[in-house]
Symmetry: C2
Subunit: 247 residues, 2 copies
C-alpha cells in the first residue's frame, strides 16, 4: 500500500510532512478534498498557521500529528537507505540533539509563531506598526466600528506579545546558529525542517520578516533551509491558481 | 451524504460534470489524488482531451461516464427547484432536442476534437501549418530523427483528418446557431455545456481556434457559453500553480 497523506499542502501540518517525504524520497499520494457550492469553493485554500488537520497512513500506522509523522518517516527502517539519511541523525547522540530542538520548535516556536500569524491575518498592512491608532476606539464612533477597533486592538496586543516571545527565542537561535550551521549541528535535520511552514510565513510578511532579517545567523540558516528543493516544491504546490487572491 | 466527484478538474470528463454541478448550485466535494516521488509529481496535471477517469457518487448512484452524470444531475427530482432549471429543458419536447444535440456532441464532436487535440499536443506551434516539412522524413537522416519525423507526419495527418471532420460539423452548427441562440433552442442547456471542455481547448490553441473564429454564429455561441460563471470558475481551477508550465 502506498503512503497516503490526506490534507491540503496549504496546511502547515501537511507541508511539514510533505517536506519530510520529499527529503526521504518516499513515494506517496496526496489526497485532497475541496468542497464547493454553486461557483464557490466553500473552504478557501489558505495558510492555517494553527494547523489544519492531516492524516497519514502507510498501512502500518495511522497518525494525525505532524511531528510524530516526521519521526515515523525519518526513523523508519524501510526508508533508511533512501533520500536524506541524516534527517534524524546518524546515531543516538545526534538524535538526542535533534529531539531537543524538535521539542523547542513544538513548544517554544510553534505557539507564538502561529499566534502571531493569526493576529496578522486580521491586521491591515500598516496597522500593526501604527501606534497612532491606539485609543481611537474610545471616541464617539458607531458601535460596530468601535467593536471592530477593539478587535483590532486585541489582535495588535496578541501580535506584540508573540513578537516579544519570538524575539527572545530568535536570540537563542542566533547564538546557536553562530556555533553551528543548523540547529542540531552541521547538517539539516528534522529540527530545522519542522520550522519551515511557520518560518516561511514569518519571512513572507513584511510586518514580521524583521524577526529573521535582523539576525545574521538566523538569516543564513533561513536562506539555506528555505532554498532546499523539497521546500521550494511545496511552495509551488501551495500557490493558488493565479486568478485567486494570494492567501 | 454529500455528492462526491473523484478526479482532477484538468480532465475533460470532470470539468464537464463540475460545470453542471455549478450550474445546478449543487454542493459537492471534489476528491483529488496526486502521486509524488521525491520532489516530483508523478502524474502531471494536464488536459486529457480523451478524458481522464471520473467517478461520481451521490449515495444513490455511482457513475463513471460524464454525460450520464450530466443527465442524472440535471434531471434529478431533488435538484429541480435549484440553480439552472432549464439545463435539461422545461418539458419533454425540449428534452428531445437537447438529447439529440447531446448525442451529436458525444458522437460527432467529441471524437474528432479529442483526436485533434491529441495530435496537436505532439506538433510544434508552427509544424501543423507548415507544408514545407512534408517528405523530409525520406532524406538520409539519423534513424531516430527519421522515426520522429514519421511520428510527426502521422500526427499531422490525424490532425488534418480531424480538422476536416470538425469543419463539416461546425458548418452544421453555424447554420443551427443562425436559427437559434443555442444548440437546442433559446437557452443554454446540457447540449451546449457538454461541448465546453474540448471547445475551450480548441479556442485556446492558435492552431485550431480558426474553427470557431471563422464562423460568426459559432463565435457568438462560444463567447456566450464560455463566459458563463460556471465555466470561468472551472478555468481558474484548471490553471496550474504559476511556477508550473501551462499544460
Amino acid at each position: 500500500m502506498p503512503v497516503k497523506v490526506f490534507g491540503s499542502p496549504a496546511s502547515a501540518e501537511v507541508a511539514r510532512v510533505m517536506a519530510c517525504l520529499f527529503e526521504k524520497d518516499v513515494e506517496f499520494q496526496l489526497i485532497r478534498v475541496d468542497s464547493f457550492r454553486g461557483p464557490k469553493r466553500l473552504e478557501r485554500p489558505k495558510l492555517h498557521p494553527h494547523g489544519e488537520s492531516i492524516t497519514f497512513d502507510d498501512g502500518q500506522a495511522t497518525l494525525v500529528e505532524s511531528r510524530k509523522i516526521l519521526r515515523h518517516i525519518a526513523g523508519a527502517e524501510k526508508y533508511k537507505n533512501q533520500g536524506n539519511k541524516l534527517l534524524f541523525g546518524p546515531g543516538a547522540l545526534e538524535r538526542a540533539s535533534i529531539e531537543q530542538w524538535l521539542q523547542t520548535e513544538e513548544q517554544n516556536f510553534n505557539v507564538p509563531s502561529a499566534e502571531m500569524l493569526y493576529s496578522l491575518s486580521f491586521l491591515s498592512p500598516d496597522m500593526a506598526l501604527d501606534g497612532g491608532r491606539r485609543g481611537a476606539a474610545a471616541a464617539g464612533m458607531h458601535p460596530a466600528h468601535r467593536q471592530h477597533m477593539q478587535k483590532m486592538e486585541e489582535m495588535r496586543q496578541r501580535y506584540e506579545k508573540s513578537v516579544r516571545e519570538l524575539d527572545k527565542l530568535f536570540n537563542i537561535y542566533e547564538q546557536r546558529l553562530y556555533e553551528a550551521a543548523y540547529l542540531a549541528g552541521d547538517t539539516f535535520t528534522l529540527a530545522d525542517l519542522s520550522h519551515l511552514p511557520n518560518a516561511d510565513a514569518i519571512a513572507s510578511d513584511p510586518r514580521s520578516q524583521h524577526l529573521i532579517t535582523s539576525r545574521e545567523n538566523v538569516s543564513r540558516w533561513w536562506y539555506n533551509i528555505s532554498n532546499r528543493p523539497s521546500w521550494k516544491r511545496i511552495k509551488e504546490l501551495q500557490r493558488p491558481p493565479s486568478a485567486e487572491a494570494p492567501f
